[in-house]
């Protein structure tokens, strides 16, 4: 589920800017730390969530304006380097501010399995909360992109920025908005999963790899694909982890990634022709 949320954030940024953000996980982690700070100062779960989401939105916008805008019209490699640099910067920053030992994050909902006909099931209220949140966000994104003029302008800005400018679209603003939205989704993903995975500056690295793979499996152009890809990844990786040992999970992710790229590079859910990544 977490992979699905992170994958959605990546897909969103890809759609909005044609730039893959390697710092996505790190930014989400940073926002989660911000949430923890709020809790440390006595805030409750929901206040922390709201503050972190607002922070995420602002951070995404600032990153786009300051770091990504200068490299948008340059070769894609420049953007890759910039986001990788950002990744290192954000993780080190978090470690410097909050220390790099593990921290726990309180959960608002019970994490023990629900009782179903007298038996405990591997699904807790907390899991339902995560699933619900992810579905709501995904529905919101689909509506945004398919049914609103804002979504249309954002998609046009991503596909053909020059043409969009000739149609009066303020492309710069659309790109900033895209990054801000993606940062919010990422922050939500980080906070959703934080109670299950202890918080440390590097905790999002693995999730980033999984989410990126999920996004590619589903097709970088499709939020539905990202969601299904994420769920599929989660399931397959649990099997890998369970049967072959946890250390092989990351390897499993890469194997899936390679297979998909070889067999169907455009992902399982796109309708457009494959693009160079």
């Amino acid at each position: 589920m977490v992979y699905a949320a992170m994958a959605m954030a990546l897909v969103l940024i890809w759609r909005a800017t044609r730039v893959v953000n390697f710092a996505q996980g790190a930014m989400a982690m940073f926002s989660t730390y911000v949430a923890v700070s709020v809790i440390d100062r006595g805030g409750n779960y929901w206040e922390a969530l709201v503050v972190a989401l607002v922070f995420g939105f602002a951070a995404g916008a600032v990153v786009e304006r300051v770091l990504v805008r200068p490299v948008e019209s340059k070769p894609p490699l420049n953007a890759v380097i910039v986001t990788l640099g950002l990744l290192i910067l954000v993780e080190s920053g978090a470690a410097m501010i909050w220390g790099d030992s593990l921290r726990s994050y309180p959960s608002r909902f019970s994490q023990t399995g629900l009782k179903l006909g007298g038996q405990r099931v591997a699904l807790s209220p907390f899991d339902l909360y995560i699933i619900g949140a992810v579905l709501v966000v995904m529905a919101g994104l689909v509506v945004l992109f398919r049914a609103t003029s804002l979504g249309l302008r954002m998609r046009a800005s991503a596909f053909e920025p020059e043409v969009a400018r000739l149609l009066g679209v303020r492309v710069g603003r659309m790109l900033t908005l895209g990054w801000a939205l993606a940062a919010v989704v990422g922050a939500l993903g980080g906070i959703l999963v934080a109670p299950k995975v202890f918080l440390d500056p590097n905790n999002m690295d693995d999730v980033l790899v999984y989410a990126f793979t999920a996004a590619i499996v589903g097709g970088l152009d499709s939020p539905v694909g990202a969601l299904v890809g994420g769920l599929g990844m989660g399931l397959s990786l649990s099997y890998v982890g369970g049967y072959l040992g946890y250390s092989l999970e990351t390897v499993g992710a890469f194997v899936i990634l390679i297979v998909v790229l070889m067999v169907r590079p455009e992902g399982l859910f796109t309708t457009t022709t494959p693009r160079r990544v």
Binding site: L152, F159, V163, L166, L167
Partner: protein, 235 residues
């Protein structure tokens, strides 16, 4: 209404426009002609901010456009159908059209503009929900023009609309532009390599060669000047 003064455009060390001046009156269709590389496309691109002019000025209805961003120029009533049409292939026909009018805030007006486009281009109406990449060249040209018209511009810049199209389609497009201008008083600046087609619907013409204006005058006169036609326009 539109004044271009001593415009110079260069791509690095290569000079594309070497001091071009022209003026366009309201409601008049002006053809911009010349061989490949004469600077015709660079002229339009500089006018709508797609490329920054090295020096010179473009003034439209009293406002200087030279330093403005493309999206701001468009919002002042100038529409530009670029070379190659610029149809957004991943979007549907309807989305492409709607996109053209979105910067206008009146929703009713936008809806009416869309209906008008569908009346003017019935082929587009039939294909409204299809992805733009399924359209033929002629249909894409119609889509690009329709999209530009959604914002009800006062000046329409058309860059090589006949490129890659069969002669019969070219004739249709030209007839369409002529009808548009006659019906709505639209001012048109038509860049074309197909000089014969362009001259047939234009009132005035400007001929460029190697980045400079070599002739400017009434389209009929230029069409009648055989020597000029052979030398610069290829027919």
């Amino acid at each position: 209404m539109l004044e271009v003064s001593d415009l110079r455009v260069a791509y690095g060390a290569v000079s594309a426009l070497d001091g071009v001046s022209l003026s366009v009156q309201p409601g008049v269709t002006t053809a911009v002609l010349g061989a490949n590389g004469a600077g015709k496309t660079s002229l339009l691109r500089a006018m709508t901010g797609m490329v920054k002019a090295k020096s010179g000025r473009v003034v439209w209805k009293g406002t200087e456009l030279t330093r403005l961003a493309s999206e701001e120029i468009v919002r002042r009533g100038v529409a530009h159908v670029p070379e190659g049409r610029g149809v957004i292939q991943d979007l549907t026909v309807e989305d492409n059209l709607r996109l053209g009018g979105l910067w206008r805030s009146d929703r009713e007006d936008r809806r009416r503009a869309l209906e008008e486009m569908y009346e003017f281009f019935p082929a587009l109406k039939e294909r409204r929900r299809r992805s733009a990449y399924t359209l033929s060249g002629g249909e894409r040209q119609m889509l690009a023009v329709g999209r530009a018209l959604m914002a009800r511009p006062e000046l329409l810049l058309l860059d090589e609309p006949s490129l890659g199209l069969a002669p019969i389609i070219v004739a249709q497009i030209m007839e369409l532009v002529a009808r548009l201008s006659a019906d709505t008083g639209l001012t048109v600046l038509l860049v074309e390599q197909n000089a014969r087609a362009a001259l047939s619907i234009s009132k005035r013409a400007v001929v460029l060669s190697l980045g400079k204006v070599v002739v400017e005058g009434a389209a009929a006169d230029i069409a009648a000047d055989e020597e000029l036609r052979h030398h610069y326009l290829g027919f």
